[in-house]
């Protein structure tokens, strides 16, 4: 079914978000102390839609950085799954919207469903905002994404100057949009403007390298000195994993006082030695080389094996935030060059 595209004058955005807030808890990018991250949009608060890519990825909307799993008192436990209104995420970028599809495969599998993820993610609406001006660190187009990709979105929003276009992607998106009176049907000219913006944005990102053979090349380079080279400047700070929209590893900890307490889960990172250090003192990943290899292999080999595609959406945050400029794109190119070099020698 062909669904109508809608249009909202920019001046009406606040009213639209209020309307959205009647049914949903609205999360949008908000600037605070120079950091732009997603948080619940309070009445009258301005969203930072002008910002190209939030510092913190929006995964914490569905998967909070710290989250109570259950409360307990002696032997009695009370699960603390989210019970609030459905969540609407407004202004996620296409890369981040795609990350939800990848995370969903981890949290919801045929054998085990993560109830904390499901409670927030189910019935949520994702309005993603297309990127008219991709950043130099962006590489979503390497990974089957693009600045106007709609994977993981219910509605794709495009800034066309004085207005936003709302293109429904899912039926849930369409059914919400069709219930909002202030939206007008977009004209042919509006749609043309969006189409032009899309072409411009895609062109600006250049031609991506083909990653079809990346997994095979990586698997063949398990013991290659390449890993020593790329990890030699890694500080193990975990800026990459905390800013990554698809990193999902977590720790579970207890906090208690006098028989009462909570079990919480927190984002964790494969960059930390304690991540795998065992009770005996043995650590199967003893150095930063092992840990960095784990991160890159997980994204570009293990995730492919388990979930059928790369565990990276090319948002470029790790490229921007790495304090020693480890650029995962250069690493990928390096893998191809090394693999080719090896092939040539044989």
């Amino acid at each position: 079914m062909e669904m109508d595209t809608y249009k909202l004058q920019k001046g009406n955005l606040e009213r639209f978000l209020q309307k959205l807030g009647e049914k949903f808890v609205v999360h949008a990018p908000v600037e605070s102390d120079g950091v732009v991250a997603f948080s619940e949009l309070m009445p009258g608060q301005e969203s930072a839609l002008y910002f190209p890519r939030t510092h913190k990825p929006p995964k914490d909307v569905f998967y909070p950085q710290t989250e109570v799993m259950f409360h307990y008192e002696k032997d009695i436990t009370h699960s603390a799954e989210y019970k609030g209104k459905p969540i609407a995420l407004f202004g996620a970028r296409p890369c981040d919207a795609k990350s939800f599809v990848l995370l969903e495969r981890v949290f919801i599998d045929p054998k085990y469903e993560d109830p904390y993820w499901a409670a927030r993610r189910n019935n949520a609406l994702v309005f993603s905002l297309a990127c008219n001006d991709p950043l130099p660190s962006c590489f979503c187009n390497w990974l089957d994404g693009g600045p106007f990709s709609n994977t993981g979105s219910d509605v794709l929003v495009t800034d066309i100057g004085d207005a936003y276009l709302f293109e429904p992607i899912s039926e849930n998106g369409e059914s919400f949009l069709s219930s909002v009176d202030m939206l007008k049907k977009a004209t042919k000219k509006d749609i043309e403007k969006a189409q032009n913006a899309k072409e411009r944005a895609e062109l600006s990102m250049g031609e991506p390298p083909k990653l079809d053979s990346l997994k095979v090349s990586l698997d063949a380079l398990w013991d290659d000195p390449l890993w020593d080279k790329v990890s030699s400047k890694c500080l193990g700070c975990a800026a990459c994993t905390y800013s990554c929209p698809t990193c999902y590893c977590f720790d579970i900890q207890d906090e208690s006082r006098r028989g009462k307490g909570v079990r919480i889960r927190l984002w964790d990172s494969c960059m930390f030695p304690l991540f795998t250090k065992e009770g005996s003192g043995h650590n199967p990943r003893p150095t930063r080389k092992y840990r960095l290899r784990q991160r890159f292999m997980h994204k570009f080999s293990y995730f492919v094996e388990k979930q059928g595609e790369f565990g990276c959406v090319g948002c470029g945050r790790c490229v921007s935030f790495c304090p020693v400029n480890i650029d995962i794109r250069n690493f990928i190119i390096g893998v191809f060059q090394t693999a080719q070099g090896k092939g040539g020698e044989q």
């Binding site: 002696k74 032997d75 109830p115 398990w222 720790d251 207890d254 964790d268 795998t276 009770g279």
Partner: protein, 277 residues
């Protein structure tokens, strides 16, 4: 689907000290509510949970053929295991599971099974031995051999039970210690050397081997020499774990999660994974 992170209440039915250095204790647990009882298979593990202290994974040492209790043997290492060692009978704790896969007992049908173990890694292999030797199952399998070594007699777990098994004719038990001590009238020598001596036939046979890495390292070549293909040699792996359900991301070896795809792997599977065990 039920929330797999919420522990179920179990009561400590019985506790005893398992080793003379007192670092190992065995716990028999029973469900507070019988309705919570779960089915499991030899080789699976559970997370034992102590509110305020946390959780740790342990292989189930009882067999599903033994009704009314779940058995675990716990080595005291740090926070959770120390808290477990301080438990008293009748106290309640939490349990989650059973998690992971199990020893491929379906593949053993009509075949011989050799169980090789060292130190306190006997836990899930005890479960397997009891399962295979259960009167309801014993007829389905050929010869069952157990080769078990410990540094000294006092560190040998389930010793009374093993000595009972020595008298039975449905399982061949070979117990060994590293060096001769007074009063020991069984085998002396490291596990790999003992396997070489006993030389179990690899024909229609499967080996399950669990123990310290160093034991496994020297056992594998002996088994290969005896003609066991890697597809017929299985082990159970350990890694630091949190969730137990393949989500928290830390226990992987290559693309396999030990908690979800394992903990039981054949060496043929492990050879495919470049990351070392």
């Amino acid at each position: 689907m039920k929330n797999a992170y919420i522990p179920i209440s179990v009561r400590v039915k019985k506790i005893w000290v398992e080793s003379d250095d007192k670092t190992l204790r065995t716990f028999d647990l029973e469900f507070v509510n019988e309705a919570d009882a779960f089915d499991y298979m030899p080789g699976q593990f559970c997370q034992l949970s102590i509110p305020g202290k946390g959780e740790a994974p342990f292989g189930i040492a009882s067999s599903p053929t033994e009704k009314g209790f779940l058995r675990f043997t716990v080595n005291r290492v740090r926070v959770v295991t120390s808290a477990l060692h301080h438990l008293e009978e009748e106290e309640t704790i939490g349990i989650r599971g059973p998690f992971g896969n199990y020893y491929p007992v379906e593949k053993f049908r009509g075949q011989n099974v050799v169980i090789v173990s060292g130190g306190f890694a006997l836990t899930t292999l005890r479960s397997l031995a009891v399962y295979l030797c259960d009167p309801a199952n014993r007829g389905d399998y050929g010869g069952i051999t157990l080769i078990y070594g410990a540094r000294r007699p006092g560190l040998m777990i389930y010793r009374d039970e093993l000595e009972e098994w020595e008298k039975k004719d449905d399982i061949n038990v070979h117990l060994t210690i590293d060096e001769q001590v007074e009063g020991w009238n069984k085998l002396v020598g490291f596990v790999p050397a003992i396997i070489k001596e006993i030389a179990p036939s690899s024909k229609d046979s499967w080996v399950m081997v669990c123990g310290p890495l160093i034991m496994i390292k020297y056992t594998l070549p002996v088994l290969t020499e005896l003609g066991f293909p890697p597809e017929h040699i299985y082990t159970s792996l350990e890694r630091r774990m949190k969730c137990g359900i393949g989500k928290c991301g830390r226990c992987n070896i290559g693309s396999k999660y030990v908690c979800f795809d394992g903990p039981v792997f054949s060496f043929a599977e492990l050879e495919e994974i470049p990351e070392k065990i």
